[in-house]
């Protein structure tokens, strides 16, 4: 059991996770932001590692990835920055990014490095289930890493069952099929989709991501799942004045 599994087991309230891009706005801001987000009360953190061609992302995260790469961020630098992670941060931390940088770093090396610095899970949206299961799963299990899969309103029940079977942390529900940074649509269709997943009684808990930016959307997500993930809204916030000092204010604007 890793920190993430323990969190889902122990905490009963709605969970809030914050995503941001490593190396943005400054190369060395990664660990400071991680620490500040924990102090402000978030339950876990997703640190994005940047990629040149982030095709599942909207303009906000495309921009932060671009700046992070210009700042010199890459996986080697990130793992170097995270070597003191567990001296400063105790909540679960996940890494999120695209598969090609992971392949170049080496999947086995990547999983080892995650474990060495105290990362609990990984989200690689373009790593297919087939390749994960047949080539890489053992590296994840050996290092007690949760591999997080995504589900959209179009994902079939059969596939959700398979994802549930392969998952060991939580399942990431996309509020709609979209790139990052769109608003959560509160509609009958969305309600039907979230209810359908809830009624499947999966073995893994679920979280809703994509489109969570305020109290209303957070509460909506928490009605159906264990909580929500805020990404684009936080990355956009980091670009505002005195953002570092105002992180608690941002967290309250999502979960008062």
């Amino acid at each position: 059991m890793n920190r993430l599994n323990k969190l889902f087991q122990d905490k009963k309230d709605a969970l809030l996770s914050i995503y941001f891009t490593a190396g943005y706005p400054n190369l060395n801001s990664t660990l400071d932001i991680t620490e500040a987000v924990e102090k402000a009360g978030a339950d876990f953190i997703e640190i994005g590692f940047p990629y040149s061609d982030p095709l599942a992302d909207g303009p906000v995260i495309q921009h932060s990835s671009h700046i992070a790469l210009q700042n010199g961020m890459n996986l080697k630098v990130l793992f170097q920055q995270l070597k003191d992670l567990r001296k400063r941060v105790s909540i679960p931390v996940l890494l999120m990014g695209y598969v090609n940088p992971v392949l170049q770093y080496g999947v086995a090396n990547f999983c080892d490095s995650c474990s060495e610095v105290g990362v609990d899970g990984v989200i690689v949206p373009d790593l297919p289930m087939y390749e994960y299961e047949n080539l890489y799963k053992d590296n994840f299990i050996k290092n007690k890493l949760s591999n997080i899969f995504l589900v959209t309103p179009q994902t079939s029940e059969e596939r959700i069952r398979k994802i549930d079977h392969l998952s060991n942390g939580f399942i990431y529900l996309l509020s709609s099929s979209s790139t990052t940074g769109k608003n959560l649509t509160v509609s009958n269709e969305a309600d039907a989709y979230f209810s359908r997943i809830r009624d499947m009684q999966l073995k893994n808990p679920t979280m809703i991501g994509f489109g969570i930016s305020d109290v209303k959307s957070f509460n909506k997500a928490a009605e159906y799942t264990r909580g929500a993930i805020v990404g684009s809204a936080f990355v956009k916030f980091l670009d505002t004045e005195n953002a570092m000092e105002r992180i608690p204010e941002f967290i309250r604007s999502i979960r008062p």
């Binding site: 061609d53 982030p54 095709l55 599942a56 090609n100 170049q104 373009d126 959209t152």
Partner: protein
């Protein structure tokens, strides 16, 4: 077309899992999965339906103008001292091989019940071919095109608009083909139900590389028949084609893959020189990795970031190659070489002067390789003249001060 004729090579074709050797697969986020999976499940059944085949063949004949001629280029042959044939894809409606694939995919999209078509384009040839078939079928069409390419391919932008397509500039990254492809994929993620994405090359997640190859395989299918009629043998000694993503090359190679005494030569764009830092010679500069949904060979940093390519030819300005090409390269079934901007421009002008054919700068890369070959005089060589040079007149004019 029948199941016998368009059959996939057992040795070089796609596996059940969507791989060509080590390459291919479907490295896509879940948001794209239902669309790609629907295609994967249905593409073969649909394209082998008799109704589909009849309509596809009719449109290729009456609308595209196929078969495209196989032309014996006598003056080029005399210059290089061997027998050279040009497969005249430049004579197709819309001026390039791209329309073979868009005709196939629009018929597929219709049968999938899609109402809206999106596409990416580099030189604009695929965009034009897509806008064309959308006009033909009365479907909405959105084409993503890099801002840089919009500027250097103005006539094609105008052609797309004239046929009612919306051209959306891709403003991220190098603002060329790679970025247009990213934008098209984002559009597809955001429009998962009513939209079909017509990918223009043999790239992207499975089944695109295999599907596009099959639609382009008409090039080598015809070439075999034409050579047989002309020479009594259906195989040439050498086949040459240019490669960006690699769709005309895959179509030109397709029916020769299993005839292993036929040399297959793929010419990439070296830009200002393979080692100049301004190049698109993927097999020379690239490593294995994942780009646009498949595992292939791509130009990338040690950290796995995609390197911006460069070529004078917008259609070859791409940092990857299709997964089947990566397989042919790795297994040495194909010879992957390159030609610089300068070599291609000179070869393009030479073809115009000797044969009265102005080739697209993309195709001129294939012609440029003739300069580097040594012939005994007995070879027959087929070069895929994938497109015509009208769209490139500005570039030719500036380059040669015409």
């Amino acid at each position: 077309m029948n199941r016998e004729f368009i059959k996939s090579s057992v040795k070089w074709g796609v596996s059940k899992e969507g791989y060509f050797g080590d390459f291919g697969g479907a490295y896509i986020p879940e948001m794209l999965y239902p669309n790609v999976e629907e295609l994967r499940k249905r593409y073969l059944d649909i394209i082998y339906e008799p109704g589909f085949q009849d309509e596809f063949q009719m449109l290729l004949r009456d609308y595209v103008g196929r078969p495209s001629p196989l032309f014996h280029a006598e003056r080029l042959s005399a210059k290089y001292g061997t027998t050279i044939y040009l497969k005249r894809e430049d004579l197709n409606h819309t001026g390039a091989h791209k329309i073979n694939n868009t005709i196939g995919q629009i018929l597929l999209a219709e049968r999938l019940g899609k109402k809206r078509i999106i596409a990416e384009t580099g030189a604009g040839q695929h965009g034009v071919a897509t806008a064309t078939v959308c006009a033909l079928k009365g479907l909405e069409c959105v084409v993503y095109m890099g801002e840089v390419d919009i500027a250097r391919q103005a006539p094609n932008v105008a052609r797309m608009k004239m046929m009612g397509a919306k051209v959306v500039p891709a403003t991220s990254g190098s603002k060329t083909l790679k970025d247009a492809t990213n934008e098209a994929m984002r559009d597809w993620i955001n429009n998962p139900v009513d939209t079909h994405y017509i990918i223009g090359s043999v790239v992207g997640p499975h089944p695109y590389p295999d599907m596009v190859s099959r639609f382009q395989s008409i090039i080598s299918e015809e070439t075999k028949l034409q050579l047989m009629e002309r020479t009594g043998s259906e195989n040439p000694d050498i086949v040459i084609a240019c490669v960006g993503g690699g769709s005309n090359a895959m179509g030109m190679f397709y029916h020769f893959l299993d005839d292993e005494d036929v040399r297959l030569i793929a010419v990439e764009a070296a830009g200002l020189g393979v080692n100049s830092g301004e190049s698109a010679a993927t097999t020379a500069l690239g490593k294995e990795g994942v780009l646009h949904g498949s595992r292939s060979i791509l130009m990338q940093t040690e950290d796995g970031q995609v390197i911006e390519p460069y070529s004078i030819s917008a259609g070859l300005d791409y940092p990857g190659i299709g997964p089947q090409h990566a397989h042919l390269f790795k297994e040495n079934r194909g010879e992957y070489v390159s030609a610089t901007d300068e070599e291609a421009m000179i070869a393009g002008r030479l073809c115009a002067e000797l044969e009265g054919i102005i080739p697209a700068i993309e195709s001129a890369h294939a012609l440029a390789h003739l300069e580097k070959m040594v012939f005994t005089g007995k070879e027959s060589v087929v070069i895929c003249l994938s497109g015509r040079g009208d769209k490139d007149l500005d570039t030719y004019m500036n380059y040669f001060n015409l």
